[in-house]
């Protein structure tokens, strides 16, 4: 499932997504397309609607209008767990780990969607269930190793240092075997060294065949990492393209520095 894919074809395509809360329009007519194998950045000032778009794409919110397709399937209006089953995994802006579970258990939960054992299987614990449990634990251990926190396996998620919590959230999301990994400000709160390490890790994840969609404020990280970016402002997409191009776009500069300068 995680075999490297050639870039080019559209993996995610959202068309005309609008979402309002009460009278407030958080997203209006936003369209983005993420290609297989790329790292796609979503940037914009605070309150631009980036996280709202994420929540629509991961099934947390149903859009008021518009629809999105993923890998050829229409996912609009599906529940979060169905979106996850279809191959989109996410992390959260404010880390949302299962605080009182160990790091290993957190990642094992991520395997839920790719495994089957039910109540009868759990109680009888036949050969198939035992094999599945062993495979879940094994897969989880390999992912902890992949993100570099093997030594934390037995510790409670809440006891982990901040940087390791971010890595654990990544490992947990990867455990669902996503085609698209959506990261909401993965570098928030990280220092320069940690950000460099994160960049390396994200590049490794992409090289191993997972497409990345990220919201990020760290401009240097976005410029160095993303193949293409889209810029949101007041719920509208104001620019899209390679980072270097977008950076010099007058509309983008205006959005970041304030309308008066435009």
């Amino acid at each position: 499932m995680n075999a490297p894919q050639t870039s080019g074809g559209k993996l995610l395509e959202a068309v005309g997504i609008s979402k309002g809360f009460g009278g407030l329009s958080a997203l209006s007519e936003v369209s983005i397309a993420v290609r297989r194998g790329e790292i796609f950045g979503l940037i914009g000032p605070n309150g631009a609607g980036k996280t709202t778009l994420f929540n629509v794409l991961t099934g947390l919110y149903a859009p008021d209008s518009g629809e999105f397709h993923f890998g050829g399937a229409r996912l609009t209006g599906l529940k979060p767990h169905e979106v996850a089953a279809n191959g989109i995994a996410r992390t959260f802006q404010n880390i949302r780990l299962f605080a009182n579970m160990t790091a290993l258990e957190n990642v094992m939960v991520g395997r839920h969607v790719r495994t089957r054992a039910g109540v009868i299987g759990a109680i009888a614990r036949g050969a198939a269930t035992r094999a599945e449990e062993a495979a879940i634990a094994d897969h989880a251990r390999r992912l902890l190793d992949y993100v570099g926190i093997t030594r934390r396996a037995g510790e409670l998620a809440r006891a982990l240092p901040y940087g390791d919590q971010r890595r654990l959230e990544l490992a947990r999301a990867l455990a669902t075997e996503p085609l698209l990994l959506a990261l909401d400000e993965p570098a928030a709160g990280m220092n320069a060294t940690e950000t460099v390490e994160l960049k390396r890790l994200l590049e490794k994840i992409r090289a191993d065949g997972t497409t990345l969609l990220l919201i990020e404020h760290d401009v240097r990280l976005v410029m160095g990492l993303c193949d293409r970016v889209a810029v949101l402002d007041y719920g509208r997409k104001i620019a899209e393209g390679p980072p270097a191009e977008v950076r010099s776009d007058p509309a983008v500069i205006a959005a970041y520095l304030g309308g008066a300068l435009a």
Partner: protein, 366 residues
């Protein structure tokens, strides 16, 4: 010292010896209790087992899935009335125990889903209020379902319920084996013990499974759990259904054991007592929950001896033990919660929450 103890604990021979000792203890318990404290205590021991099943059922809902259920006794009532109605002169039906027990568990499961379905979006206080209402609704139905068609016999309850029979073996008769006499209450104790062990076994298996992890994940963070692909609706309903089925089994046994059920046995205070067992013992930790159930059944009974104790100490009874009993019991509950906020016997993970930073924890090993 701690290292030695840890090594000893991991030794499989020690585990087997401890297991054998526990087995002998549990098997000999009715004889010992009867000899030392009287027949009433064998009956109390049987009730302890019923409450262990109830507490372990509620532990799935509250301890694992984190859904605060204040109406759990409703499932106990459903199990008890299911058995009572189908094995008593009420309808003239006398279905066999082996059929009624699994069916009762199944019916309780259905009620679990019935309660669970409308409450899926609720958490915390709101869920507690709705479940509390559900518990009362079931009880009030039992009180009022005697007119226009008499189903439950109303507040009088159902009498003359068939004692439990396994084939031709009636638990209500004294049997003799190995030169020992087994009066009815002993027989019930052994049946309850077997089923309690089964419930403990099922609980342990569920805890360490894909489903058990999904329950805990929902307790910890429902949004993140859904984003990881857990169908939170189904997994929550499963928690309600599993928890309810334990309650249903326990209820059927209760009805057969007592020979009589009435709505009075299924009041809100019962739900709260079962919840206390779970919380006081150590939420989500099976040995803790078992301990909680044992203490909360035994302690109120033991406190009946406050009268004789006063007689012994002061030469006369100063205060009516009936008054003192609940006072001391309440005081004991408050003390436990103050001194051990995560329960008397919390799980290792819960204990770790209170321990120091990871670095010092790693240092201790060296």
């Amino acid at each position: 010292m701690i290292g030695e103890w840890g090594k000893l604990r991991r030794d499989p021979r020690v585990a087997w010896i401890a297991f054998a000792a526990l087995a002998v203890l549990l098997l000999a318990l009715p004889f010992f209790a009867d000899w030392a404290f009287g027949r009433a205590w064998v009956r109390i021991a049987a009730f302890v087992l019923l409450y262990i099943m109830l507490a372990l059922g509620l532990n799935i809902v509250v301890g694992y899935a984190g859904l605060l259920d204040l109406g759990y006794v409703a499932f106990f009532a459903v199990g008890a009335y299911f058995y009572a109605l189908l094995a008593s002169p009420q309808f003239g039906l006398h279905l066999p125990f082996w059929l009624l027990l699994p069916l009762g568990a199944g019916v309780a499961c259905v009620f679990g889903v019935l309660l669970g379905a409308p409450t899926l979006r609720l958490r915390g206080d709101y869920l507690a209020i709705v479940t509390l209402g559900f518990g009362e609704i079931v009880r009030i139905f039992l009180v009022n379902l005697n007119a226009p068609v008499n189903i439950t016999n109303g507040p009088q309850g159902i009498n003359l319920i068939d004692p439990i029979r396994l084939g031709s073996f009636s638990l209500a008769q004294t049997h003799t084996a190995l030169g020992l006499g087994f009066p009815p209450v002993y027989n019930y104790y052994y049946l309850f013990l077997a089923l309690t062990l089964a419930v403990v076994f099922v609980s342990i298996r569920l805890e360490n499974s894909r489903i058990g992890r999904a329950w805990v994940a929902i307790r910890e963070d429902e949004v993140a759990a859904a984003a990881m692909g857990i169908n939170t609706r189904n997994v929550k309903l499963l928690a309600f259904a599993m928890g309810a089925s334990f309650g249903g089994v326990s209820g059927g046994l209760f009805a057969g054991f007592q020979g009589f059920v009435s709505p009075e046995s299924f009041t809100l205070i019962e739900s709260i007592m079962i919840l206390c067992m779970v919380v006081l013992g150590g939420m989500g930790h099976i040995p803790g929950v078992v301990l909680g159930a044992v203490l909360l059944v035994v302690l109120p009974e033991a406190l009946r001896y406050l009268g004789p104790l006063q007689q012994l100490l002061f030469g006369k009874v100063l205060r009516d033990p009936a008054d003192l009993r609940l006072l001391v019991f309440g005081l004991a509950l408050i003390l436990v919660m103050l001194l051990r906020p995560s329960g008397l016997w919390p799980s290792a993970t819960r204990r770790r929450e209170l321990s120091t930073s990871p670095d010092t924890a790693a240092g201790k090993g060296g």
